[in-house]
Every structure is written in C-alpha cells, then in structure tokens.
C-alpha cells in the first residue's frame, strides 16, 4: 500500500521516556477518566485539567494532595500504569483526549476495554498490555520515581538493566509510528467500497432507503 501520500493527522509515536504514574485501581471506567459534565464540549482539546476529576479534586475544586497525578513528579508523567480492564464503560473518545491533553501518551494495563483500546490509536496514544507480574515490576519504578523508556518500533520497554517486550498489531503500530490518518487510508480503497455498494444495491436493495 502506498502510505507516503497519506497526510499526517496525529502526533507520531516512536519512543517515550518518563517516570510512570501508578494507579492501582481495577476497572477504571470512562466516567472516572472524564466525567460527563465535561462531555458538553465541542472540541477535542482542553480536557486534561479535568482528567480523573472526581479523584483529583475535592468538593471545593481544590487538588487532593495524595492523588498520584497531583503529586510531583507524577503530574508530569507521560506513562500511566493502571489495574486491569482499563477504560471500560462508554465509548467516549473524551477519555483518550483527556489523557492526551494531560500529557499521557502511553497507558499500561493487564487488559483494556475494546472501544477505549481502539480509541487510543486514533489519538496517538499507545496502550500496552502486560501480565500482572510485569505490571507489579514496573510499578516499582513509579514508586521509586525512576524513568522507564518505551520503544514502539522495537516493541520493548526498557527499565534499569532489564527490558520487557510487548506485542502490538502491526497495522496499528504502523499507523502510530507514522501518525497516519486512517480515513485517508480507507478512502484509498474507494474503488472497493464502490464495488461493494453496487453489489449491495442488487443483493439488498432495501438497505439504501431509496
């Protein structure tokens, strides 16, 4: 496939180095990541300050000091490590938008909810799945405030003297590495879509509501 002419839409992801923030909660749902009062926006940006709103601020709107993302150096973390089934609940893309706006471009968990997982890739965020044991190991780096590095093209995480490999779908990886606009990619297949539609008109004419 010719990818060179596809315009770049999102930030390319290649390597990333940061002290990870660790949020040891399972089933973090999209309502927790960004509650509904912030879904009234018609923009993609500006949601970072409300990321994890309920856990991050008290009733008077002041930062809750012992919440991890309010603490230095985690308030500058680009990597978030969290409990399993991260991003469950609604399809709101405001969840990855809020993470991105806060500065988090990589989330590590032992499992992700499907829609959230695919939403990440559309926004230049890398979701990494690791088993619980590895997560525990990495979380130590968060506790000790030490950096870890992520290398997407090599599919590895380097920390201290060790490294862990992770797996990622080759097509999704390519899109992230090159920041590709997947609508443009699909529109390259216009001919195939057209052929499908022509057949569909014959096979199931009622679909087109004509």
């Amino acid at each position: 496939m010719m990818l060179e002419s596809i315009k770049i839409k999102m930030q390319k992801f290649n390597t990333l180095k940061s002290i990870p923030a660790y949020l040891p909660i399972v089933n973090i749902d999209t309502d927790m990541i960004i509650p509904k009062q912030f879904l009234k926006t018609i923009k993609r940006t500006g949601l970072g300050k409300n990321l994890f709103f309920e856990m991050r601020y008290d009733d008077n709107g002041n930062e809750i000091n012992n919440f991890v993302l309010n603490k230095n150096p985690f308030n500058k973390s680009k990597i978030l490590i969290a409990g399993k089934n991260f991003g469950c609940g609604s399809s709101r893309e405001h969840a990855p938008w809020a993470l991105l706006d806060f500065g988090i471009t990589c989330v590590i968990s032992s499992s992700f909810a499907d829609i959230f997982y695919s939403n990440c890739f559309k926004n230049g965020i890398l979701p990494i799945i690791l088993d619980d044991e590895k997560i525990k190991e990495l979380s130590e780096y968060a506790n000790r405030k030490e950096e870890i590095s992520i290398d997407l093209s090599e599919e590895k995480i380097v920390y201290g003297n060790s490294k862990i490999n992770f797996e990622i779908d080759p097509f999704k990886k390519k899109c992230l590495l090159e920041g590709l606009d997947d609508i443009a990619l699909s529109l390259k297949k216009s001919e195939k879509i057209k052929t499908f539609e022509n057949n569909l008109k014959i096979r199931k004419s009622w679909i087109f509501n004509d």
Partner: protein, 467 residues
C-alpha cells in the same frame, strides 16, 4: 463450514481484508447524537470531506435535552451549544434529525427500532457504547469512538478486526416477577465486566426465543457491561412482525425480499464458539446491584458481600472501595437498603413494556413519603403510547413525576441528577461512581423492582406486590 450468525453478518459486510487480519467493513446504518459527534463533523470540515451516504445516517439529540418543559429551550449554555451544533451539522451535511420538538425524538437506541431504521442482518454503529441494543434484531451493532464516527461519515465503512464468538444460552422459564433485566444482570454477574472482552455474544436458548422484542433489547443493551463488543439474537417472526409497517422498514416487494434474506440469519448447527455458557432461567431471581460495577449483583434475598471473605487482593480492595462509596456495611441484607430516589427510564428500560411493568405494580398504590421518583419515557412515541393507555395517570397518582423523553438521570448530563450520597433505585445500566451525579449511589434494577422500591422506600422484592 458451519458459521455463526456473527460470522455470516461479518462476511456479508467485508469490503476489504488485509493479510494482517485488519478488515474494512461496510456500515448499513449510522446513528448520531449530540455528544460524540461535534468533533467528527468538525474533522470532516477541516479536511474538506463530505458524508458519503447521508440517507444511511439518522441523528437525534438525547443526552443533553431537558426532560421538563421544553418550550423555553435549553437553559444550560453548554448543552444548548451541543444540541444546536448537532442541528447545524445535520443541516450542513444533509442528515435527517429528530430535533427536540419532534415527537419522534428520544433516546437514540429507542428511536432506531421504533422507526424501522434498525434491521436484521445490518451493521449498525453509533458513537455510543449501548449500540448493542440493536443486536436484538439480529444485527451486528456496536459502539464506536468519535474518530470512528468521522470515519463512517466519510467512508460508510469501518476498520475492524474480527471478534471471537461467545454464546450465552438461557433455557427454561423465568419465575414470576423475574424479567430480562434480571437475566442480563445475572449474566454480567457471572462473566464479569471484562468477561466478554474481544467477543461478540450471541444470546440463544428457548428462554431468549420466548422473550418479546423489547425484552430482547434490554438484554442486548447491557452486553457492553459484560465487556463484549456486541450482543445479538437471531431474528424471528416476532422481529419481522415488529418491523412490518414501521416508517423506515422496507415496503412492498423490497419487504418480501428482505424477509427472505432475514430468515436465513441464524447460526448453523455445529458452528464453533470460542466460549459458551449456559444458564437455567428457573434459577434466576430478581436482582439488584449493590456496588459500583454492573458485575456487583446479588439477589433481592441476598446480602451485601464481605471483603474479608475475598482472597484476591485486587478484588478485596475494589470491594472495600465500592462498599465505602456506596455507604453500605458488609453482610447487610439487600432489603435493608433504604433509597431516596427512583429513576425509571433509559435505553435499557425506557420502552412501553417497561412502563407497563412498573405501572402494573404501582396501580392504586402510593410511593413512600421520603422517596422522589420519576419516569422518563425513552421517546416521544413511547410517551404518547403510555398516555393513551393511561399509564401516566397511574404514575402521577402514585407520586411519580412524568417527564419528557431523553437520557436524563441515566448519566445525569442534564439537570436530572443525584446529590452526593443520595441513593437511587434505577432501571438504567451503569452504577459507576458518580454516574448519576457526583457522590450519587446507584442500584440497578428492573422496572418492576424500581416500582417496588418506590412503594417500600427501600430495595424490595417485586413479587411482594404481584397478585
């Protein structure tokens, strides 16, 4: 090779298949609402793209609309901007919209079936996770993110990888007072909120077949709470009958051809499922959720769990966190949980049969003095039908408020919300922390159970009020 229903729909929509398994599939029906679409339309505009098939797209404002008197419009400035933006986008791109004043307006997953926009064997998407509702018609229906909404608008296709096949069989007959809501809560309790991750669930078995079309929608609706991408049920005569004569259903010769095709939509004998579970309907009881995840279910005769009995450390922590948030004590009886509010509505239980079920319990009874209760019909047409049947009077006489249609307190994006620590028996689908308002406490129940709770003032057994 024998195929599952999901396999068949998938294969029938393949536009392109890459070697790495990534596929481009055709989307027959696209539903759009105000919350997850503005950025998608903006994306189209920024890249000078158009909507490929405006006629395959239907839009409605539901999440943000007020459920009280609408004649003065929306007072919340941000909500108003979002609803107005949907309207101008639909105008600009030639998409049909049911606006706030339209009697066909309602929750996106209720109006699709009502209009006959939802049809068997189609791929239906919407920027909303409860799109699985439409799977009750034997369609492959699932929620997508806003970038994908933009992708569908521009290309009428979606980039996907095939999910696994998971079958849930429910056989037998439900005991009195037990509904499809209890069935799906039971299923989620059994498989957990991540139990269906990466799968499409087909619901099968003689109990499922015996359910009405609307009851099937309740089951498919909450599939996402079990983590699955989509849930579906093979279409049958009940579905065809439901769709016949609906405004957007095929007509005349096209109808006959459609029926012929729809009849073939079922899983072949011997088709392979990656996962399968079986439930006996007789063993299902009226359910409630006690915690902050839809998998936190117990029967109405049951007790709130005790974290001390948990060995798994993660699970124990999450139980403690939930109990604390919910303001409950370990081992407390479900029936001892006192409630402040009752909400009947949402895309899970906001249809006419749901309202009938609740009204049957409430007839000639008053709700407890300390309880504030409301009914929010799922659409303008549901509301109209209910009023024709006099259900609104039953609700109002018992002490309920009778509202205009919308999502309302299911997610509390409009003015309908719980105050901190207020406790609600709700027929919606999510009991997440803060879902119905900051600090609010949600117990998910069936419409009959919500009515029973309203009368008793605490969570209670609907069977008590059944003759």
């Amino acid at each position: 090779m024998p195929n599952t229903l999901y396999d068949k729909i998938w294969n029938d929509h393949l536009v392109d298949q890459q070697d790495d398994g990534t596929a481009l599939i055709f989307v027959d029906r696209h539903l759009v609402h105000e919350v997850t679409s503005p950025q998608a339309f903006e994306g189209l505009r920024n890249s000078n793209r158009t909507v490929r098939h405006p006629k395959l797209t239907l839009a409605v404002a539901d999440h943000n609309v007020p459920t009280t008197d609408r004649s003065k419009g929306i007072s919340d400035e941000e909500s108003k901007i979002q609803v107005d933006t949907l309207e101008s986008n639909c105008k600009e791109f030639g998409i049909q919209l049911f606006g706030m004043g339209d009697k066909r307006q309602g929750i996106v997953h209720i109006i699709g079936p009502e209009q006959g926009f939802t049809q068997p064997g189609t791929v239906i998407v919407c920027g909303d996770s409860h799109t699985a509702t439409h799977g009750a018609f034997g369609s492959l229906a699932f929620g997508i993110g806003t970038s994908e909404v933009e992708h569908v608008l521009a290309t009428q296709t979606l980039v996907q990888k095939k999910a696994k096949n998971f079958r849930v069989n429910v056989d037998g007959k439900l005991p009195l007072g037990v509904t499809s809501k209890d069935v799906i809560l039971q299923i989620i309790g059994k498989i957990g909120t991540a139990g269906g991750t990466g799968c499409v669930i087909e619901y099968a078995g003689d109990l499922i077949r015996s359910l009405s079309v609307e009851q099937r929608m309740t089951i498919c609706n909450m599939t996402i709470e079990g983590g699955a991408r989509a849930g579906l049920i093979a279409p049958d005569e009940k579905i065809f009958k439901y769709l016949e004569g609906k405004p957007m259903s095929p007509k005349g010769e096209a109808w006959d051809k459609a029926i012929e095709y729809w009849k073939k939509l079922r899983t072949d004998d011997g088709a392979k499922f990656d996962k399968e579970i079986n439930l006996k309907a007789e063993e299902i009881l009226p359910m409630i959720t006690w915690g902050t995840s839809p998998q936190d279910v117990i029967t109405i005769d049951g007790k709130v769990p005790n974290p001390l009995n948990e060995k798994d450390e993660d699970r124990k922590n999450s139980l403690e966190r939930s109990l604390n948030y919910m303001g409950l004590k370990p081992n407390m009886a479900a029936k001892d949980i006192k409630i402040d509010k009752v909400f009947i509505g949402s895309c899970t239980n906001g249809r006419i049969e749901d309202l009938r079920e609740a009204a049957k319990i409430l007839k000639d009874k008053k709700i407890a003095a300390h309880v504030h209760a409301m009914v929010v019909p799922g659409s303008g047409l549901v509301k109209e039908q209910a009023e024709q049947e006099g259900l609104d009077k039953i609700f109002v006489n018992s002490g309920f408020e009778w509202r205009e249609p919308g999502c309302s307190m299911c997610l509390a994006m409009n003015a309908d919300k719980l105050k901190p620590q207020e406790r609600c028996a709700s027929t919606s689908n999510r009991n997440f922390e803060g879902r119905q308002g900051r600090g609010g406490r949600t117990h998910l129940v069936s419409p009959g159970m919500a009515a029973a709770a309203a009368i008793s003032g605490n969570l209670d057994d609907v069977r008590k009020y059944q003759n």
